[in-house]
Amino acid sequence: MAITTDPVAINHWIACGWPGKVPVGGYWDTVLLGQNIRVSRPQPDIYEAAILTAGALGRRLPVQSRFCCIFTTLGQDPRPLPQIDEFDEPDRRLINCGSVGVNTSPYRMIENFLDMAHFPFVHTNILGAEKKTEVVSHKIEHRKDVDEIWATDCRFFQPAASKAATGGQMTDYTYRVMSPFSIMLYKNVHNDPGRNDAICMFVQPKGEAQCLAYMPMALVDDVNTTAAIIDFQQTIFLQDRVILENQRPALMPLAPAAEIPTKADVGSVTFRRWLKQMGISFGIYEKAAA
């Protein structure tokens, strides 16, 4: 796998590990945008990363430890990591679900995370039900000041919206696409509608269609065990994974006629337009057009 030459893809902070993956005093080798790297951990709270070429360590890479993940970048001028205040609130439970491999383009993963219309069919009787499939109109905007895509006023009927939920309810969502490789959602806390759970997905693109997904969460939940919360989140994500690995092509098509959107897909349409405008080519189907 060769390193990408796409300058747009390179200039991001990208998740490249989580603490459990890197033993203290040890390392783990992984791949970032086609580049082999080594993430090491000389001290419990100190992580380092470097380019790995034919088994030999090369250029040191900058590292940030944030949102239960380890981030690095291959670029000289990376876009800063997003601000997610919930991870700093003292009463939050920060839960890390490890990483899950998914063989598809990173953007297919982001787009799926942003999509509500699949809930009844993919997350049946959990996040959606076959008898209530309608996606009501919601607001999508490209916030130019932060260069993020926000979807607000999203509402969907959910039979069992979270580990804490009992019985069906309309659930409010806000989605926030923070970069081509990261997305999060805010979702009503079950017993405290004034607050939102924050659930993130950071994608590590190893290659154009080989990714790892990291799903750290900052939750308000004093009822459920960590095992039960992780089990719920992984159940949802592994339901998505079947879909993600069976979309064709795996790379994201950006030509308008390649796939047919409807009104429920405004998030997808805005996201794809945003990718096109930034001129990213890594993981994109139409190499010539990008």
Binding site: E134, N246, R248, P249, A258, E259, I260, T262
Partner: protein
């Protein structure tokens, strides 16, 4: 943009046994590297479409059948037998525009085999066999060998008695054993080193269950022999 824009030859290729494509089911089939969905409604003939939903590219072979419609697993988009989208669950009140349509292909059932023609013209005919009726399914196998290797393997196989091999068409082979037993092999080129083989039998006196099971075992043996590079011995069907 067309995802599948290669020009396909005007040719019918067997891709499955009709008996194995049960009502209300959808199956993945690969033909020359091209992914196809082979499905049958609760009634009626099997159909072959490109294995992608026009909405988000999800493979339709993962879909589910309700009535005589195929529904995509991802968002439940519902396609009628002509390929047109009939319903989009995210918008229950919307009549989907006629432009939303799955890519459909010519499909036929003959000799107990399902045939596909990926070309737009479809002037060619399904290969003609001497005995039209009376074909019964034996089984399908999938081999790690190229289609020419499989054809060679069928012809070179030691059937334990005189065998006459003929090729009524490209990717189709008839082996006559003795005076009475005809085996028909339809080849499905999957990739450069992978081939599907769909086998039916015709002989006087309808073969009973143990006889068909015996033939199915022998086809598995033929498969294993071809994969091993030849040399297997097929016990004479007369002695089965």
């Amino acid at each position: 943009m067309q995802i599948n824009d290669q020009v396909e030859a005007d040719r019918w290729v067997g891709v499955a046994l009709d008996s194995q494509i049960q009502s209300a089911s959808s199956h993945p089939v690969i033909l020359n590297g091209r992914e196809l969905a082979l499905w049958r409604g609760e009634s009626g003939p099997a159909r072959v479409w490109d294995d992608r939903c026009p909405h988000r590219g999800m493979r339709l072979s993962f879909g589910f059948v309700r009535g005589n419609t195929l529904r995509c697993l991802y968002h439940g988009w519902t396609y009628g037998e002509n390929g047109h989208c009939e319903a989009i669950p995210a918008h229950p009140d919307l009549a989907p525009p006629k432009t939303i349509c799955a890519s459909t292909h010519g499909t036929a059932a003959k000799y107990g085999i399902i045939w596909v023609n990926l070309s737009a013209t479809r002037a060619a005919h399904v290969p003609d066999l001497p005995n039209q009726p009376g074909w019964l399914p034996v089984r399908s196998v999938h081999l790690r060998a190229s289609a020419p290797q499989v054809l060679d393997g069928i012809a070179e196989f030691d059937y334990g008695e005189p065998a006459r091999t003929s090729m009524p068409a490209q990717n189709a082979c008839v082996v006559v054993l003795g005076s009475d037993t005809q085996l028909f092999f339809a080849l499905q080129p999957i990739g450069l080193d992978k081939t599907g083989l769909h086998v039916v039998v015709n002989e006087s006196g309808e073969p009973q269950i143990p006889r068909r099971q015996r033939l199915a075992r022998q086809v598995a043996r033929l498969r294993d022999t071809i994969e091993a590079g030849g040399g297997g011995v097929w016990p004479s069907p007369r002695t089965l």
